[in-house]
Symmetry: C2
Subunit: 342 residues, 2 copies
């Protein structure tokens, strides 16, 4: 009798040919982690002075050299935290070298930037004002631009009450980092991992099974389904033959100059991947099914059947969450005009 | 006895030197109109397919030639529908000739643009894709960019069900116009006009009294406190001596070539003026008190005392409303990458 009950539990009615949810859940849990606990942990930070300051700074264009670019411009709420460009444009409308990844869930990663060149979201934010996105000559210039907006002095003081002179790029970075830690998008896949096995459709479950069995999970695992390791793009065959990338990006080699790091990139996390086209470090591939097919080929040496691609993409779509309210909702910024030459 | 009651009603306790609210309300009502009814009339349009399409289009950068500029970029929710620039930048980061006015309440105006060169928000939106903000060569190119985002076809069809080929710049403009008609920001001044006389503080009431008596109201009247007439900027003395404008903008003369239109501009509406620095057609003046002082001088030939400026600015601050929810909240746009050469 016990065996019959167990069998019935494993085979829900009308789902004969879909993978068995309980073993699938078990396999999934051994590879992925739900972010339900992370979301709960961030609840206490929502609305705090430091997070709200970071939210304002994220949206404010007045710290960039032309007063147009802000964190938000490459990470737009309307576009799921991306800019929909193959390669982003930065201040003065100049091209940047790589694709802007979504800011959503980015703080879950072990490093930032495609080549892992930033240790954390805080370090990314700390150096951003001096990069191609903002174009400040140095920290002092960035701070001058911040101080030119009168309302920020009080907001920094409220967020960093122990600092004598709180308007610094270190605090700007800490605030933006704290804000970005709140930008989490739980999805139906988290419900599944939390035990609600019917949160995924049969096709999504079939895709998850294949995602695991084919080997995508070797790199795309953990809380972010990626974002926790470096891998060579093109482990089996040169990536640029599949992506038609031009120029060919050497990846992490540019930082370390180690031969082993040639074409090595941080594995991108896959949450919201449905909404963050185009794909790869240079946005060279527009459609998600193509990206999935290319990954199987150049990383695993496998040719996916159309049905496999459909199922895997179906699973990937279950990773789409809702835009967090404190990202979708624009903060009201302190008043004050942008000064051309602060 | 009746006279005593009347006196008590006219002179609230502790407000001996503030203007009497009832006569003030009467004077205000003869010059201004509350937008309470406009807000109520727009309720039925919120969330309709055409307004929601317009909202998406307003936020979408993919119709501009560089895929960065959108309506939203010069009219940011975080900045009360402005860009905080003296003069806006448009596509490819090139300067535009004038200051971007707030989009909030802009549909209440009798014409659009500083020189009245657009009849309506619909006409403004219809021609915007071809202007310096978006940089399309012609309507066909703008439509191509729209059609390159697959999700728009269905949204246009839902918004314009009677059209055979609904993806046109005419419909784009109709949708954005319909959206902009919903972007109204009722304020405490509307509460006052609606009869709640204590909605304005004594200083704000004093400022309103002066705003009327000094003559600001001659042009800044109606629902928008402006936006319903043309006037010569510098009716009494040349504006550029006060604003230090460079170059000197001929205003409406550029359109009509009529001498009477030299230095003539649409009177800007004053709702949310506290939040929309810098001021005037070229953003040549940063602070609101300075703008008020200059206006009294060059339009009315009057030197305002500091107390007058304080009171008038105090009144102007009562015109600040809340950012409408369907503006503050970013819409989720249809997925799809920007194509460099559509």
């Amino acid at each position: 009798m016990a065996a019959v009950v167990l069998l019935a539990w494993r085979l829900p009615a009308g789902a004969d040919d879909r993978p068995h949810a309980a073993p699938l859940l078990q396999d999934a849990r051994s590879n992925f982690q739900s972010i339900t606990a992370d979301v709960a942990a961030q609840q206490k930070n929502l609305g705090t002075p430091v997070v709200e300051l970071g939210r304002k700074l994220f949206f404010d264009p007045r710290i960039s050299a032309d007063g147009v670019w802000s964190c938000m411009l490459c990470h737009q709420p309307s576009l799921y935290g991306t800019d929909a460009h193959p390669k982003s444009r930065g201040v003065f409308d100049k091209f940047l070298p790589r694709n802007a990844p979504t800011v959503l869930n980015s703080a879950l990663q072990f490093r930032q930037h495609w080549d892992g060149g930033r240790e954390s979201v805080e370090e990314q934010a700390k150096l951003a004002p001096l990069g191609g996105g903002f174009g400040n000559a140095n920290d002092a210039q960035a701070v001058d631009r911040l101080k030119a907006v009168p309302g920020y002095a009080d907001l920094f003081e409220a967020a960093f009450p122990d600092d004598k002179d709180p308007v610094t790029t270190t605090n700007w970075a800490a605030a933006i980092g704290a804000y970005e830690h709140t930008l989490l998008t739980p999805s139906r896949f988290d419900d599944f991992l939390d035990g609600k096995t019917d949160a995924l459709t049969p096709s999504e479950q079939a895709g998850l099974r294949k995602f695991i069995d084919i080997g995508c999970v070797n790199c795309h695992d953990g809380r972010g389904l990626g974002g926790d390791s470096f891998e060579k793009f093109g482990a089996v065959s040169d990536y640029w033959n599949a992506t038609h990338s031009d120029p060919i990006d050497l990846g992490r080699f540019n930082i370390t100059k180690a031969d082993a790091d040639r074409y090595v990139f941080k594995v991108p996390p896959l949450r919201n991947v449905e909404k963050t086209a185009p794909y790869f470090h240079d946005g060279s591939v527009e459609k998600l099914p193509d990206a999935a097919r290319i990954m199987a080929k150049v990383q695993l040496g496998k040719d996916l059947a159309p049905r496999d691609v459909d199922d895997i993409v179906s699973f990937l779509n279950s990773l789409t969450g809702e835009i967090p309210a404190n990202f979708a909702q624009a903060p009201v910024l302190p008043s004050g005009q942008f000064h051309e030459k602060p």
